[in-house]
Amino acid sequence: MTPNLDPILQAPARLKLMTMLTAVSEAEFATLREVLAVSDSVLSKHVSALAADKYVRSRKGMHAGRRTTWISLTPVGRAALRSHVAALRELIAGVE
């Protein structure tokens, strides 16, 4: 039986972004971009896709005197991530 993977989280960068967000309550766009090592447009695209499915929440705010975007995981996103990681582990366990 194929584990129930979440198609939205199959992109490695999205899985990584969501997993990173479990370490914080909220993170600034530039902080996430630095750790992910991607461009503004790539991160922006992933955040928009995840926000469209209510997996993350983004809001405008200020950081060090400039306007910026703060991103956080939603309860829906947290549950989806847990379920997706469990499915990935099931997939790995299937061949061990």
């Binding site: 194929t2 993977l5 198609p7 939205i8 989280l9 199959q10 992109a11 490695p12 960068a13 999205r14 899985l15 990584k16 972004l17 969501m18 997993t19 990173m20 479990t22 370490a23 914080v24 309550s25 909220e26 993170a27 600034e28 530039a30 902080t31 996430l32 750790v35 992910l36 991607v38 461009s39 790539v42 695209k45 992933h46 896709a49 950081h63 060090a64 910026t68 703060w70 990681v85 990935l88 582990r89 997939l91 790995i92 299937g94 061949v95």
Partner: protein, 191 residues
């Protein structure tokens, strides 16, 4: 560059699944390890708690106007130090960790709560019993223990960020506040 990052529904090989989890977890570890505490974080919180315990005990023991002013002043010092340190953390890291606020600053970590309650109780008892010399000792010991508990929590957080990042639920914080208030009322009533 984008193509391999966009979502796809093709079957995932177990080796890819393993690599994806490892990469995601390493990103989380890297993010948590990159977070820095502002300078004098634990020492300033410990000092503010010591001031709050000392002034709180003095205020409870002397329920004249000045006693209440001293009590409120100590509380204000702690709130100001906590607010400044949290703002500095947020500015320094571009991130917010709810667990830091509730565990380190509000003392919801078990060890911080226990040591705070013990130190506050001892300081207040000393102030009420006329053993005023013991109040500052209990306050300083309480502040030191609180700072140490915060440092311990920070190490636990960096080791397992996902388990420690979230702050306490609002209900828990309200319950803690009500308990603290009830404790104060009981101390005054038993005087």
């Amino acid at each position: 560059m984008l193509s391999n990052m966009e979502s796809s529904e093709r079957p995932i090989a177990p080796s890819e699944a393993q690599a994806a989890i490892a990469d995601a977890e390493s990103g989380r570890t890297r993010l948590a390890s990159s977070l820095r505490l502002p300078s004098y974080f634990h020492s300033s919180i410990g000092a503010a708690i010591a001031v709050q315990i000392g002034t709180g005990a003095a205020g409870v023991a002397n329920q004249e106007i000045w006693g209440m002013v001293v009590l409120a002043g100590g509380l204000l010092v702690f709130v100001l130090v906590a607010a400044v340190q949290l703002a500095r953390f947020r500015r320094l890291n571009g991130a917010w960790v709810g667990g830091l606020a509730s565990q380190v600053l509000l003392g919801t970590a078990g060890l911080a709560s226990i040591t705070y309650a013990a130190a506050f109780g001892l300081a207040t008892w000393a102030a009420l019993a006329g053993a005023g010399w013991l109040t500052p000792i209990a306050a300083v010991a309480g502040g030191g223990a609180y700072a140490w508990a915060g440092r311990r929590w920070w190490h636990s957080y960096q080791g397992a960020p996902a388990e420690h990042s979230r702050g306490e639920h609002a209900v828990v914080l309200v319950a803690a506040g009500v308990l603290a208030l009830a404790f104060l009322v009981a101390l005054v009533a038993l005087r």
